[in-house]
Symmetry: D2
């Protein structure tokens, strides 16, 4: 820690510095239910492997996790299917925006990685396995309540419905994958689960807590729950590093130096392996669809803590 | 270190296990001077930040560094130009093969990152700055002798000439960049330097030593030379992690978990920040143009040492 | 006509020569209801502007017109909307397979031309105009009965249903267009009409008769019905020439020299302006999805008649 | 001819109407020697198969033919190599700008057609056949003098040099083709010929005369010289129709309905098969690199004469 600052001091500095940047960026407006959110909000929480939880700003305001859900669904899918999942989805950065369809056509329906929309749809389909969408949605909420250690965690059904009504790009991707045989369940079932997982609401406190197993070799250091293997946790972190911020993943690695996953709700989950799980939230997005202030805050945090993995 | 094994023991295990894999992969044949090399060779050296150097296999056999030179030229360019370099080259994984031209057309002549060929040509042009190609080649050799702490380091002029005679793809890229105004010097001058930097010969011992500043915040821990700033060293590592293995960069991060840069001569430089610089060499390449056995060896090394950054 | 041969003689020669080629090519298998058709069939009919109708081979076997329907829907849409249609769809060859989605992403949801699937979906949506799908389907059948001068013309509902069940690629395209705002009606309504128009059944006699207005400045020379203006007829022919055979359109122009439109049912409609409308059918497709023997037959017909426009 | 107008009257009307449009469009500025031309010029000449030559406007002003040379080099190459040429270049519209390199990468160095730059470089290489560039340049000038029936036809060496100094995009394409083995001669030799053929100067009178064989089954109707076969003439016309105006070829076919080839010098050669060869020139270019007023003039001419092939 720079100049012997405590984690509490660091988060205070970050939260204070970020005030000047609030209001920059645009709130995601393609999901009507998200478009009404005040962009001038900011929260940050670091949950460390030794059980400490430090918060600053709007740490208790719940937001829509959106694409951050992909990390947790991926964890569930790897536990269920193991390495067989990688026959259906790749591990490479896509070099394209989050909802691109071009690469899919060239690569015959195998999405580049599980953290872009196409790949996440395949992960959801793999978990669904022609089963019951409602049961999978329930299972996901259950998993997230365990991770966040908070039974109040739930899905915002208005957001889920709102996504369903306007999610033509995702419907296009899912049908495209189905045309290549890489969606096995009914397209509408897969989309239903996907729209619900994205609509999960968490606050920074819950999200930081939920990601802690990724900073601690797959085991929740507080509850001691064995969520996944050490190797899988490392690999999920590797994917977050190379693919977690769409076509700004390289920039995030360059500036922050931590594995991270962003969502268009304005949240970012970042992992400092062996140290902490960090959740940050600010709804204004930059041109790549990542939280403008969230990335800045993590850059400062990494700089002040020296937590960059590089 | 797993089960308390020493670094010497770990490298011995890795070198021994790799014997079974030698002969797989294909030697790069598009550069005639490289096509004659026996693929059944393997060397590995780890130089640690505390000054220890451990070797196994063909650690003293010199090979052509090829694209690994991009890391060192990038270091030189950042020292010379600072952040201004990033106006001419990006920081994102390309999602394409090493010599792709497609992305350049869509993105108006700004290469995705400095570790693909197009980006490296821009870096070379930035260092050349309409100056003398011979002087830049000399300056690069000088820099590498300092890094490797070995005055015998030199360029294989036969390989440099061989590349010049067959490097139509690189000539195409350089002319393309020139058409977009992102090459300022004469195209032939830039190509001449580029073909020479690629033709530098190093053995694993020299390469591991040369990369040590990247594992130690930009400062050579042995000579105490300040090669670059801590921030730049971290950022170069970040680029190696997200972009160092072309369109298999995600797979390398997933399997090895260390920043690395490969060359078609069969070498790979990997960095374990704060710990060591590792050079591995085996000439047989996999389908992405990276050393087949080199990647396997680093995967085992990372597993046995626990050096993955994730 | 070469060596003073009559049209009857020419079609006899063509039909006879084609026997040797039957069985080449593959029947479209992605629509189950089409996959069962015997590929060793061939029919050809030329309807000339002076009212003559000449037939050879299986001229009375009905087949699924599939993409040939795009020509007639385009005619209807131009009559309804005029030049305003061209704000929603282009006039350029796509250089891509019939169902490509790549170009759509780059060009923000404006399909290259109305004869590829994406463009045809926009044409269908333009005709639907948030109206009643069943009424549009009826209107199309009505239009085709008038064109073919045959009240028995109808849609094969089994094929329409079969397309709906497997048309994930078209569903993907339609959702993609909707995401860009270039589908105004409900996606499922548009797809329903599209799958029905493709499932229209015609034999060569009916199809040649139906296209006659395109060979005669927009006016049916037999019934004197003014189907469209002379300029629009010419322009539809131009689009058939440059875009009528997907990414083999250039080859068709090169070999045949007539505007034409193919369908995966194995039919092709070709127009010899001022002279005749020609329908040919043989179910085996070449690698570009056009009737293998159909193209050969038209090449011979153009050669024997000298009807190439070039 | 509309309302019994003579060809002289038609050209008079067209030339008169075009006055209002002069000055629109931009003169090609990437070749310095072309950038100084006054865009407010316009010439048109129709040479009919019966020997008539009708002119209007600046019919005797010489201009740089640029890409129109591709049509004549293609004719020469087909005479020399026959159908073997098509193993090295395709016949399909590219769907891309004239100097695109993307498609080349996907299709392994086989250019889409001989009328885009990449394809024309292959045609030039095929004619060069490792021979003497100066001899090929002389042979081309000779061929054009014969076609134009004018010994004064020559190459503007300042323009040729100017293209060589700034033709980085073409140098990139040629090196790219060489990397795929689809250029056999020295890259610089091929480029030298290409830059010279583009720098040929013709006025509308000469150009219309030169293209006459394409309107008359391959035979010059005045000199009776057999330039190519009837089939090849038709096929060249077909390529001009589908590929002659880069990514505005479809629009040209739609609006004009004649095979045509444009050049960035502002010239267009259009063929009315069996009727006439038309040359038009006006230096201001539209956004696709075709003469803005030239296309308008041909659209009016086709409308007034009824010469559209559709």
């Amino acid at each position: 820690m720079e100049q012997g600052k405590s984690l509490t001091e660091v988060l205070g500095i970050v939260a204070s510095e970020m005030q000047a940047h609030l209001g920059h960026g645009r709130v995601a407006d393609y999901i009507p239910a998200l478009a009404k959110i005040d962009p001038r909000q900011f929260g940050i929480v670091a949950a460390s492997c030794d059980g400490q939880v430090v918060a600053a700003g709007d740490a208790d305001m719940a937001f829509s996790v959106q694409s951050i859900s992909k990390v947790f669904m991926l964890t569930m899918a790897l536990e269920k299917l193991g390495g067989a999942l990688w026959r259906r989805v790749g591990k490479e950065p896509s070099g394209s925006p989050f909802n691109s369809i071009v690469q899919l056509e060239n690569e015959r329906g195998i999405p580049r990685n599980p953290l872009i929309n196409a790949g996440a749809l395949v992960v959801t389909d793999a978990l669904l396995a022609r089963g019951d969408p409602a049961a999978l949605i329930d299972g996901f909420v259950e998993f997230m309540r365990d991770r966040a250690n908070d039974e109040s965690v739930s899905i915002d059904s208005e957001v889920a419905r709102s996504e369903g009504e306007t999610g033509f790009r995702n419907a296009s991707l899912a049908n495209f994958l189905k045309a290549f045989g890489n969606i096995h369940s009914d397209v509408n079932d897969v989309l239903r689960v996907y729209f619900h997982q994205c609509a999960l609401r968490l606050n920074c406190r819950q999200l930081a807590r939920a990601g802690l197993y990724l900073a601690h070799c797959g085991v929740d250091p507080v509850s001691h729950a064995k969520v996944t293997t050490a190797q899988r946790a490392r690999r999920i972190n590797a994917l977050m590093m190379t693919c977690g911020h769409y076509d700004a993943s390289g920039d995030f690695a360059f500036r922050v130096g931590l594995p991270g996953k962003s969502g268009v709700g304005g949240g970012i989950l970042a992992i400092a392996p062996g140290r902490a799980s960090i959740a940050v939230w600010s709804p204004g997005l930059n041109e790549w669809g990542n939280s403008h202030v969230g990335v800045l805050a993590l850059e400062r945090l990494a700089s002040l803590t020296g937590w960059s993995v590089f």
